[in-house]
Assembly symmetry: C2
Homo-oligomer: 410 residues x 2
């Protein structure tokens, strides 16, 4: 565990982010504008944020001493992932570290069962669910009873540690559900089951909350998932009823307040076939569904997250355009012959308006290695903007133009 | 001279910027989005860019070995100031370093006399000027002849090294002009003199040019000077005739092409009382008159500068709004009692839409320590947007609200 020197000279505060991934990398960009340098606890010097920040502590987020070293002298400790053991955070809080979001709130983002239970208590709409965390035989019986009463339209979820589709199993018959249960519960994985919701689409209601209690909500967006992970975000969610959008924002703000969340928070929702909202997941950090804000909102989620953890007043969350679309750049099944640098060159030649954000990550299949934002021009429809954003992202992923364009053709 | 390790892992290029000031700091923000980490040659670790970049080489821009170390392995070498000795750059070019802008172009940004002479040759409008670089007696006679023929409305300028009002003396009588000449020419300073132009206002026509030869122009802006340095920028220049704006853009693009400039380039202009344009100064780098682009244009000058020096295709230069105003945050005559951090807190409370960019610099009178961009909302006039931007910047400078607002009053 080593630490680079703290070079700040303007008397502005230092925030530490645990995790050196792309969220920390992009938070560092915003920290620079605020007169700061983000301190990052990273596992290695080649992680996305460690590549670019002058203030890196190398160490593991599982190691309390590394966490302590990273927190030393910082005014707040925050996170680019939900993987830090809660006991460590409680220990740091007992030592006076400003952990933001605090452990009591982060608990609900780490534990899907606790989150579901809390949401139910608060009267927020959740799918039916059942706790399968108990003794195996009893849990198996509970799953069978739950499955029978829901026609075996069942989603099994790991209570902890899942992300980007990992730790989630969609099943639609008894044998499949029990096989997942039997395979999974033999290990350490604690499960819960939920009713599969008949939905039209997925939404995300992102907000931020400061310790002072100020809340701010960005426009509600539609998230398009592929292979269990976010692929595209449409801001705002096209055609969403204004009352429903406001309801989603209000639910997210209420939950942030009730949980005592601090920082950016994403509430992922299902819009059901009968026009209702159901809460799916929760993330207490900058989130993929908020990347569009970097170019499309007055205040980006990364600046807002910093403002919130520093207890600064929050920034304007208004969109800068009628339509903004974000498309993730994913590692292709096979790495293209053309280098990333060359692909970027071609993209810029074809789309001078595309805003590209690369994470400095090696390419592996389906790995999130960057994203593209396209901000719609006045009068442009969401379909056009989306087509351009997806075309750009696909090009950066696989060096293939989805519209079949060939610059060398007649 | 020490160097931190090069931590990039995604195969993207490394650009080196000579100079660790705010321009390098903000270029680093853009480098991050492009999958890079800007390498910075800085005089000390507490310079604005050195505070935030993971790739810092410590050393002097006057030291050829330091320049060589900074260039090692980088695909291009560029600048956040004009102070690098031309002979060093020629040496690096001879060794195969891609110096961008190249020394043959940068020469004109370093030497006001060469620039004036070249502009004249190209037929671009410049004020009358006279070379005072020769033997002192002859130069003094030349100044007298020039002064007499221009009614002693004369600006004396150091041919090299002036910036932010330093190295420029406005005079309006013979005695004053000769006193400046006698005081100055006794040292190493080489002088020239220009006719003082009867002007309405100052403009800036910023462009970028790539080695491939692509050029791109941002909207022409009005720059408001105070005490010889840029205080406020209005984008676009209010009420500027469209033909005149286009003429300014064309002049700047033409000059960039003729000089073989690479990267961002600012052409500062006077709009004369009879509606003509006259070229004042030239900067071959990101420039204060382009800071508005960070929040107000599709492509910021910092991203564009990197795209140009990398020979990527250039980005869309369109404004994101009808009115954008930038106001510099200057160190106050006396440092306010309230800390920068606390001032920022209050500013955000009052203006959630203000985009603040702080440079990590200590506060000294009139020193540029940050800037504020305010992007106008649809329908907002330039006066309103300007008032807010200046109010925000003044608050950040001196902890005084220029509208007399008192949060504790009644």
């Amino acid at each position: 565990m080593t630490s680079s020197p703290d070079r700040r000279s303007s008397g502005m505060p230092t925030v530490t982010m645990i995790g050196g991934g792309q969220l920390a990398r992009m938070t560092h960009q915003s920290a620079i504008a605020l007169g700061q340098c983000l301190r990052v606890l990273a596992g290695s010097a080649d992680e996305p944020a460690a590549q670019v920040s002058a203030n890196v502590v190398l160490g593991s987020h599982d190691d309390l001493d590394a966490l302590r070293a990273a927190a030393e002298g910082a005014v707040a400790l925050t996170f680019d992932h939900e993987g830090v053991p809660l006991a460590h955070l409680e220990a740091l809080e007992a030592e006076g570290v400003a952990v933001r979001p605090p452990s009591k709130a982060l608990h609900f983002a780490q534990d899907k069962l606790a989150m579901r239970t809390k949401l139910s208590e608060l009267g927020l709409p959740v799918p039916d669910f059942v706790d399968l965390s108990g003794e195996v035989g009893a849990a198996r019986s509970a799953l069978i009873a739950f499955g029978e009463s829901h026609d075996w339209q069942v989603v099994l979820k790991a209570v902890r540690g899942g992300y980007d589709g990992r730790g989630v199993w969609l099943t639609d018959n008894r044998d499949e559900a029990l096989r997942v249960f039997d395979d999974t519960s033999s290990g350490d994985t604690v499960l819960m089951a939920e009713q599969k919701v008949a939905m039209v689409r997925e939404l995300s209601a992102m907000v931020a909350r400061s310790p002072y209690g100020q809340g701010a909500a960005w426009p509600v967006v539609e998230t398009v998932q592929r292979n269990g992970q976010c692929a595209v975000v449409l801001a705002p969610a096209p055609g969403l009823d204004a009352d429903v959008a406001q309801q989603a924002q209000q639910m997210s703000l209420t939950l942030a307040e009730e949980l005592g969340a601090v920082g950016a928070m994403a509430m992922e929702l299902f819009e059901t076939t009968d026009g209702e909202l159901v809460v799916n997941e929760l993330a207490m950090r900058p989130h993929n569904s908020g990347h569009w804000t970097m170019d499309g909102a007055v205040t980006s989620q990364f600046e807002q997250h910093l403002r919130a953890v520093l207890d600064y007043p929050l920034g304007d969350t208004a969109a800068r355009a009628d339509v903004v679309v974000m498309a993730n750049i994913l590692g292709a099944p096979e790495a293209p012959q053309m280098s990333m640098d060359e692909r970027l060159h071609h993209l810029f030649a074809r789309m001078p308006e595309a805003k590209v954000h690369l994470y400095g990550k090696g390419e592996r299949p389906d790995r999130k290695i960057g994203h593209v934002n396209v901000v719609g021009r006045p009068g442009e429809g969401v379909d056009d903007v989306r087509e351009r954003a997806e075309r750009a992202a696909q090009w950066m992923s696989a060096a293939v133009w989805t519209d079949g364009w060939d610059p060398h053709a007649g």
